[in-house]
Assembly symmetry: C3
Homo-oligomer: 342 residues x 3
Amino acid sequence: MFLRNCWYVAAWSEEVTRTPLARTFLGMPTMLYRAEDGEAVALEDRCCHRNLPLSMGKIEGSDVRCGYHGLKFDRTGRCIEIPGQPQIPPDAKVMRFALVERWGLVWIWPGDPAKADETLLPRWHYLTEPGWSVIKGNDAAPVAMKCNWELNNDNLLDLSHVTYVHPKTLGAHGADQYPVQTDRRPRSVRMIRWMPNVPPIPMWAKYLSSAGNVDRWQITEAELPGHCTVDAGFAPAGESTIDNLREDSPRIRVLLTATPETESTSYLFYAQIRNFGVEDAAFTDRFRRDSRGVFDEDVVILEAQQRANDAMPDAPTIDIRFDAPHLAMRRLVREFAEREKS
Amino acid sequence: MFLRNCWYVAAWSEEVTRTPLARTFLGMPTMLYRAEDGEAVALEDRCCHRNLPLSMGKIEGSDVRCGYHGLKFDRTGRCIEIPGQPQIPPDAKVMRFALVERWGLVWIWPGDPAKADETLLPRWHYLTEPGWSVIKGNDAAPVAMKCNWELNNDNLLDLSHVTYVHPKTLGAHGADQYPVQTDRRPRSVRMIRWMPNVPPIPMWAKYLSSAGNVDRWQITEAELPGHCTVDAGFAPAGESTIDNLREDSPRIRVLLTATPETESTSYLFYAQIRNFGVEDAAFTDRFRRDSRGVFDEDVVILEAQQRANDAMPDAPTIDIRFDAPHLAMRRLVREFAEREKS
Amino acid sequence: MFLRNCWYVAAWSEEVTRTPLARTFLGMPTMLYRAEDGEAVALEDRCCHRNLPLSMGKIEGSDVRCGYHGLKFDRTGRCIEIPGQPQIPPDAKVMRFALVERWGLVWIWPGDPAKADETLLPRWHYLTEPGWSVIKGNDAAPVAMKCNWELNNDNLLDLSHVTYVHPKTLGAHGADQYPVQTDRRPRSVRMIRWMPNVPPIPMWAKYLSSAGNVDRWQITEAELPGHCTVDAGFAPAGESTIDNLREDSPRIRVLLTATPETESTSYLFYAQIRNFGVEDAAFTDRFRRDSRGVFDEDVVILEAQQRANDAMPDAPTIDIRFDAPHLAMRRLVREFAEREKS
């Protein structure tokens, strides 16, 4: 079950070069490369003659030449040369996918290119905005996860898992004792947890303007299809409310998205950004190291869950209170999937 | 094709500890652990919330807590805590399997716990009885076999294979020249071979009360579903008959059972016991080394047979005289399988 | 889709010895061995009793004894001994395949032995003829290819691939600029390319009787089912025509055949022969090294094509002019497959 008419992260900008990059999105082998003028291009990774992946061929200028019999395709996917014959049949072409490059990421629209709409990108502008320190996850490469992409939405829309999955890395901070709210929006779902008047996390405390207790929050927004922004922050107790958060408080945003490779594998792209200690290189290094450890822990869980789901597809399950946000998101995904069919 | 309402060996007692042990029995992922009071417990290895294997969680007292969102289950499989909510829905539970621990082995009953009947255990009391030296196969761990469990019954109910599979380890002793009898019982089948008035096996001869020829025997009893006891012994020629074997003769019993993991994989548990040279540590060491070699040879054959069966499921086969015992056992298994359906 | 009533290369002669060799042809596990008198034998690799591969047994004289319960089969596949019983049932037998050993190769006929016809062997007599230097590919062993056997025919009937697949090993010599002819014959297809009045390949030039330009040719003949002979040669310009090639010109013939193991795997056997520089050992060594590199390049392409075909079985493809020979061959194979059914 895939949504086609929406944006997915295909790659970090620095991964797309003058050498072909082969990835599979939503089950479709795809080749990414950069044209002579720097434009990122995504073509079906299959010569329309005898199926050899075009990514095994060579980039010539802004075109790609197949490595088997030399057919050449331009960046629109049109065949422009067939060795040994002057005529090029009209169906000599491969699919070309809509792409947009924004905030250091290359986004692909696997569905109808005519419907590609840049206003539907998640608002991940922080990635290139001054005032934020950005750590690109996994050294600006995706993590290959052996699990369905929606398990990542489920995971991030229920942060009570932090207590049990990340006790050694993020700490078992008792967030699972606070209720959550579910905020349903037209193309996204938000999970909101408000923890008022609690001690600050020691490591972060020095970045606060005043000593004493704080109000803490955890907010995950999952935008269609699976772009999750986790906002974890705190402010001196009593100075903000959940509806009026101080943007200048010490604030961490984690941006995560699982791009489906197949029904049971996906590419996890993530970044961690923060607005405090931005110049503190040692702090940044520690964050980088720590965040790798955290996401590795998540991947272990999600892959085990996928294996269990595959082995026991009909096993009865129960839902709990904390499931409300991710169940809302699953419904939203299915609503849009229905719309795509009609 | 599995029988559910019967006992299987799940583990050696020493394998079940305060740390979860994950095994799959008859296709069902299962978690084994030991409660605070020492009781061995077997639960479905799947949290009823989001399917994560419970074996990835933590033992707390006599309970287990899921490693994803912290649901806690007691040893009966009932959920007793859901973080973030006071009510526990009545269907918040996982399967619990009947277990019994006997003779250093943990036995599991994968079917209806109400029908679990300890009188149906095979009589493997020798394992903890004085007067017998016991060698636990594979250092008290199962051998992971890539074959269906019934191939092990077939193998042991036709010991003519010894001549061809084990010529270097057990010796090609010509047993395949003696006929066998088949003894059909309500829940077992016995294969009996009597070899009268033959020279003794040199290594064992010194344990005999008198010199000269012996009567040798090979008896395999396979009890449902696949608990095989191989009795190999001898006595001074003329002193016993097949119906009246001297228990005090030098006697080896090999206990073997293949617990099905899936249709095409199984756990082979085995032990070798003997009533002679019990105090002879060097003799015991040699037995241990030799028996490992012998069972490794069997596993090579059974796995090759499984691959061939899979590749050529409809290949025509013939039966021979020596097949009578294992064909009787296969019929018995199918009779009980039919009974389970009705 | 396999043709059964035709010859396939099963092995190089030196591979078939007094020790069993297990191979699978057209999905059928097969055991090859040499009888006491030197005859090469191919039997179904499966004991008709309990399916153990006979190749795990022992050769005794000209017979083979199963390694499980000792059934013995003669070279015709008839069971001639069953331990423990005097009578041998008439259906105690395994398939025996027709074999012929010719030119250092063992050829198998997987279909009806009564139809095996040696006149249908390809004319690969060069392999043992004086005046030719022979390099047995891959040191006289097959290359295990993870692709369907017909992809090899396709590859060799369109040598325009040389420019794109082998630019570093064979050179991008522009052959793809010359048209090809397709010659359809009753049991084969020929692809013919004539390149008149071109400079000779430098390495070969010294073997020519005169300096100056040459006429070059590439001819692939694919004989049913997949025996391909590639004839690449040249002669002083104007001295020959495509219909009248000088046999004494410097001439290379590459003999290749992909024997199907399964629908998606095959054994590639190949040899390279030439009639010039026959005594030049350094030249032969260089040829041996180079040809290994060339065929490795082909295997990479064919395996990638197989993966793509498997992943996208319904992807639309186009045909180009150079496809005419291999499309003719595919039609021929299908014609004979239809005939086999009726």
